[in-house]
Subunit: 280 residues, 2 copies
Amino acid sequence: MKSIAIIGLGLIGGSIAKAVKKNSDIKVIGWNRDVSVAKTALEQGSIDSIWNKESMLEADIAVISTPPYATVSFLEENARLFKKGMVVTDVCGVKEYIIVECERICNENDLFFIGGHPMAGKEKGGYFNTDATLFVGASYIITPTETTSQKATDILKELINILKAGTITVTTPEFHDKVIAFTSQLPHVLAGAYVKSPLCTKRKGFSAGSFMDVSRVATADERLWTELFMLNSENLVTEINTLINNLSAYRDAIIKGDNSRLSTIIKEGREIKECDNLQF
Amino acid sequence: MKSIAIIGLGLIGGSIAKAVKKNSDIKVIGWNRDVSVAKTALEQGSIDSIWNKESMLEADIAVISTPPYATVSFLEENARLFKKGMVVTDVCGVKEYIIVECERICNENDLFFIGGHPMAGKEKGGYFNTDATLFVGASYIITPTETTSQKATDILKELINILKAGTITVTTPEFHDKVIAFTSQLPHVLAGAYVKSPLCTKRKGFSAGSFMDVSRVATADERLWTELFMLNSENLVTEINTLINNLSAYRDAIIKGDNSRLSTIIKEGREIKECDNLQF
């Protein structure tokens, strides 16, 4: 791989740019909706050049690093400007919607699409928070389908290795969306729901690690997460309902004063967590 | 202060012992239900001597570092062996129950009680996990009442400074229990309820920081936490119900496909969290 185009220089796209520049000699071409961010990235050496849409985009792979709807609409409008035969990938947290739409557009434009989702992030987005080491050791999920070309898979894997991710997880778009509703979307719903207790503003001096951990991602951006939640609504509603049922079991045991039942359900949670010794 | 007695050498008691030894010349006397733990602590220099209940316990302050019921029953059985005039404190995560019971017993035995709750912990307890720096920078809550002597408050504050805690938070037992239901008990309920999703065992390669944060304290010991939840049942049930209502608002907006409503409630959570820039 000699060149990579990164569309969108926010937390994920900007961090990919920085990691590629840090770990390889690959040429990085950047584009950002707000061109001032691209100019900053260029000045800081995070990218080698800015694509201005006045010429064809030429690179071995284009990484569209924007939210789901923006990813699809960017490709709708600009795929004709991508050099034929290029590999295209995305970084979205939902995959069923993205794969259907992006495969269609890329097929129509002689481009090779493969879906991807790096399992790394921060509680605040934007180029300002980018970090060349964001993906180090993390899992990077890819969702090749029956029609995905080997070339696309190979080039994306090459990029993932350059990012120093720890694992490549290969799965289907359907299974991705089901599990991600639990591992990522539910904690984001939870953090927001949690901090809405009227007691949150009275917590000064009354908290330690567990408050911080549960509330950390409540700072999530509502534009991005509204899209992600709505595009995975069925799976996420299932997970919210499961959580509400499980919370209700604790509440009901407490209301009844049933010590034995409460102890049993706390123990069950402990045992699940103790058997789960995976890092990612 | 020249000497301190620590009853119970688990995570909190053992960490207090280590911090006192590390940061002062105060003599540390230890007692533990399982004497082998006290012997290990003695060998490692975390305490200077073991109290064997065959002599009166003499120290400037006794810190009972056991769960709530054990704290009360230990005092019931052994307060007569404490030197008259000693200050006694506890480290329990509930205060209304503790203050009523411990003030009564201490009054009967000419001891000066003051309630305390260091806001520090780990996801696993026990002497094996003790750490001399556990309290550094943390908040240490104290709950003096109308009948608490100045001597008790002064000596406990002296100890808290030796532990290098960051803040001393003075409050009532009632307010403590109300806020702690939200900041500490609810995250522990949540972590256990969260990991019970059937998808938890399928998460390999699909998770990052937010899964880790929400699930961390699911390893909580069921004996301790059953006591803590039951002794604060009314406040905790209120918090669980508030959380369920807030979670339901996200779910209902998602089911209705109401993008604007979903965006608004995510934004509300973000704004609360962004205004909350306290460390503890």
